[in-house]
């Protein structure tokens, strides 16, 4: 079977693992041909890729949506061409009205920031803090994961349990380690006392860690949280710099999406929604994740 | 000063001065031009002749001084205003659009249109082409293909297009900065004819030229610039080439006042 895959972007660590999970899976099967395209974070490009797949007559399409609210048009395009469609990693807005030959495999983004922030909150309490000041490093502001994870932080801090946490400032690093490093250094130059950094992703968390280390700050005295559980992050956690991150089963999602697509291509029925849960990673359970992502 | 609006003075400058950084290119120029008069401006290279023209036509803003034109004091904000007030100029650097063809250049800024739809007016291309051919015939220049862009014209062809443009549109004052410098024998003769026609029609003109014969042939009065100053202002009848040269070179000095 010919399967067309449109990924939101290629130069994203997490999505790369997901994509490779899919490719690995396909290699093990005979007669499965994957064609993976890079939408370069452009909704319109992605929609056009689906139409190009249709013009090439693929048997099924897997989409890792750039923008989960743009999926209606994609579902329509695939339905018009009578080609099965599977969304992966990001939950489409039209999830409840998907046609029969469409499905999605995703995680609930609302969990990631929540798990992260709750762990940070727990660590503060463990250290006996009555008051904790944190900096928040956001991802790209036009990205929904960044918006959602930031909202998760606000939501957790709004609960009475963690209301002792105060956000000094939140700024964006555009997911980028260098920008996070510069941002953190700028914050350090204000001389404000702070107890932790909550970042929307691991790269930003690592950037902040590097900046703090350059300023000779004792990493034991600060709590740093990230999301993604990348190899770099796990190494940073082993080194005692990073305190919390959140694992999302990228490879599992990729493989699951391919499975669903193949079944739909054969005309079989599959579940409309498959949730793959996020998992919190701490020094305590890190060994479980070292070989993943 | 006398009420300028009642006299027959077309253009008058007082103390016109222009500095570029430390370069004093033009210093206190007092100049008058009367109705129907043709005045020549001569002078060394770098004497400030073109600078003088650029101040009058507001291509640059003067450092100080005043200008009266057509009966009232003027402070043009730019060359457009000068042109709208009635000053047509052939600049030394020609001011042609290299990528446009000859008719487009001739009518640049005052295209003939079929319908008026503001900026989106439809051009009357046929008319402009015909009118261009007619205008160029007057300058005797030969241009093999009018649709070629100005970029591909010879030096003299470019100059003739610029002159044809100035001569085609009615105006109150014509200024020509070395119009025949690049022209051949025939073309020069034709352009001189054009200037004579203007004289007959009573249109005033300022002619900048290094050509002594031409100046004595065409003009009533000669103004000499030297080192940014007007050093002589002489009626043609009261002077000769030798005299002018000595003012240009500085052999004679002191502002020579007009006899008449």
């Amino acid at each position: 079977a010919k399967i067309g895959v449109s990924m939101a972007k290629f130069d994203d660590n997490f999505l790369t693992v997901l994509r490779n999970g899919m490719i690995e899976q396909a290699k093990g099967m005979s007669g499965v041909e994957l064609q993976v395209e890079d939408a370069q974070n452009d909704v319109a490009k992605q929609l056009d890729q689906i139409k190009n797949f249709a013009a090439s007559g693929v048997d099924a399409i897997i989409v890792n949506p750039v923008d989960t609210s743009a999926t209606q048009a994609m579902s329509d395009a695939a339905a018009a061409a009578k080609i099965p469609l599977v969304y992966v990693n990001r939950q489409p807005v039209n999830v409840d009205t998907l046609p029969d030959n469409q499905a999605f495999v995703a995680s609930n983004e609302a969990d990631s920031g929540t798990l992260e922030t709750k762990e940070v909150c727990r660590l503060f309490k463990e250290a006996g803090k009555k008051e904790a000041n944190v900096y928040v490093i956001m991802g790209e502001l036009s990205n929904q994961a960044a918006v959602q994870r930031t909202k998760d932080i606000d939501d957790v801090i709004a609960t009475p349990d963690c209301s002792f946490i105060k956000i000094i400032d939140k700024q964006t690093s555009n997911w980028d380690r260098d920008q996070a490093q510069n941002l953190m250094t700028n914050w350090l130059s204000t001389g404000k006392k702070f107890d932790g950094v909550i970042a929307n992703n691991d790269e930003s968390a690592i950037g902040a860690i590097q900046a703090m280390k350059a300023a000779n700050i004792d990493m034991k005295s600060v709590v740093v949280g990230g999301v993604d559980a990348t190899q770099d992050a796990l190494a940073a956690m082993q080194a005692g710099d990073l305190d919390a991150t959140v694992f999302q089963d990228a490879a599992g999602q990729g493989a699951g999406a391919l499975d669903a697509a193949l079944k739909l291509a054969k005309g079989e029925k599959v579940e409309h929604k498959v949730y793959v849960p996020f998992q919190l990673v701490t020094p305590a359970n890190i060994d479980k994740f070292l070989k993943k992502n | 000063m006398p009420d300028i609006s009642t006299t027959d003075i077309v253009l008058k400058t007082e103390n016109l001065t222009k500095r570029y950084g430390g370069v004093h290119a033009l210093e206190g120029a007092n100049f008058e031009l009367r109705k129907g008069e043709h005045v020549a401006i001569m002078g060394d290279n770098g004497a400030g002749k073109s600078t003088f023209v650029r101040q009058i036509t507001a291509v640059e803003q003067r450092t100080s001084g005043q200008v009266w034109f057509d009966g009232k004091e003027v402070n043009f904000a730019g060359p457009i205003e000068a042109r709208e007030a009635g000053i047509e100029t052939v600049f030394q650097n020609l001011a042609l659009a290299d990528d446009l063809d000859v008719p487009s250049n001739l009518f640049l800024g005052r295209e003939k249109v079929l319908f008026n739809l503001g900026p989106f007016s439809i051009l009357d291309r046929k008319y402009m082409r015909k009118a261009t051919e007619a205008a160029l015939v007057r300058t005797a220049v030969k241009i093999p293909n009018l649709s070629n862009t100005i970029r591909h014209m010879s030096g003299g062809q470019r100059q003739c297009v610029a002159i044809a443009r100035t001569a085609t549109f009615a105006s109150k004052l014509i200024i020509m900065d070395e119009p025949t410098a690049a022209l051949g024998v025939q073309e020069t003769a034709q352009v001189e004819n054009i200037i004579r026609t203007l004289k007959d029609n009573g249109e005033p003109l300022i002619l900048i030229s290094h050509n002594m014969r031409q100046v004595f042939d065409l003009c009533d009065r000669i103004v000499v610039f030297r080192r940014g100053r007007i050093v002589a202002n002489l009626r043609k009848e009261n002077t000769d080439g030798q005299d002018i040269v000595s003012y240009i070179t500085g052999a004679k000095t002191g502002e020579a006042e007009l006899a008449a």
Binding site: G4, F10, E37, D38, Q40, N41, D42, V43, A44, K45, D48, K51, N52, A54, A55, S56, G57, V66, D67, S69, A70, A73, T97, E140, L141, S142, N143, Q144, V147 | V59, G78, P79, I80, R83, T89, F91, N93, L94, A95, L96, A97, D98, D99, L100, V102, L108, G109, R110, E111, P119, F120, S121, I122, L123, E133, L136, V141, K142, P144, L146
Partner: protein, 358 residues
Amino acid sequence: MAQTSHGVGGVSYDARKRTWPAEFNVFLALVILVVIFELIGRVFLGDSFLFNTRSDVSGLFNEARLQIIILQVSIVGIIAIGVTQVIITGGIDLSSGSIVGATAMIAMSFAQVATVNGNPNPKAMFLAQGWTDLPVIVPVLVAIGCGLLAGLVNGALIAYTRIPPFIATLGMMVTARGIAKWWSKGQPISFPTDSFAAIGKGLMPVIIFLSLAVLFQLIMTYTRYGKHCYAIGSNEDAARMSGIKIANHKILVYVIAGILAALAAVVLSSKNLTAQAGMGVMYELDAIAMAVIGGVSLSGGRGSIIGTVIGALIFGVIISGFTFLRLDAYYQEMVKGVIIVGAVVLDQWRQRMRALRG
């Protein structure tokens, strides 16, 4: 020797030996590209790029592919029309992609429905104000207003402060992207009304693109506006001394570019049924590349809308051709860069040959 003497005479001129229109080269590049894809397809894949090889579909050509080739470049193509006239005047517009983003966000928030599947629209910006289910003219006018405003700022900056267009529009690029993100604090805006969704449905983007292209080709060729664009791009000083109102003209040029970007935003968000702050990133570069591939000179004064349309088609063929060849996505970008350069090299090479040989 059949020689005629044109214009007002002079050296002999052979009217039969006309020079090719510059667009011809670009068209040639397009044809070469299509033939290459067709050949590779036939030889290596046993499939055809342009022709129909499926039994379940009728027709000589692979119509789905012909459509997507032009459909996928229609939106950037609309921007490229505006960018073309900007470049012809000797300017550049880096802000068009960001204007698309900001305009899509703002316009879409006036095109939302009140209820989705029976529930209140979760993404509606102005639900509280009741500004939902508005007639389609409202978001379109809002978009045009946004584009006009952005273009006005660009144009006024360039015309009055005389800063380089590169900087003025770079500033607008950063600012408009900021506005796009700020408008809904990064949230996408979705669920438009059916009438708004109709704008970008099916082949509508293509129709809008081609109509605008024809309109502007006529404007650039036959109107005073077009003539002045070329004059300013060719020699701004000359144009000024000739009495063209440079400032007004430039403002108009950038306003038109802004409005075209805004129209592109309307079509884009309608086609995708959503608006998000990241929309239109890098569109400005694609639009400029389309224009330049189409023969528009970046130093101003030369080019045409027809050329830009062909440039856009080259882009479309490249994108579809890659998918057709199932080229690994990693190689696609590399090859795309090479093809962009190749198309311009071919054009340049033919022009030089002509200039040298005469």
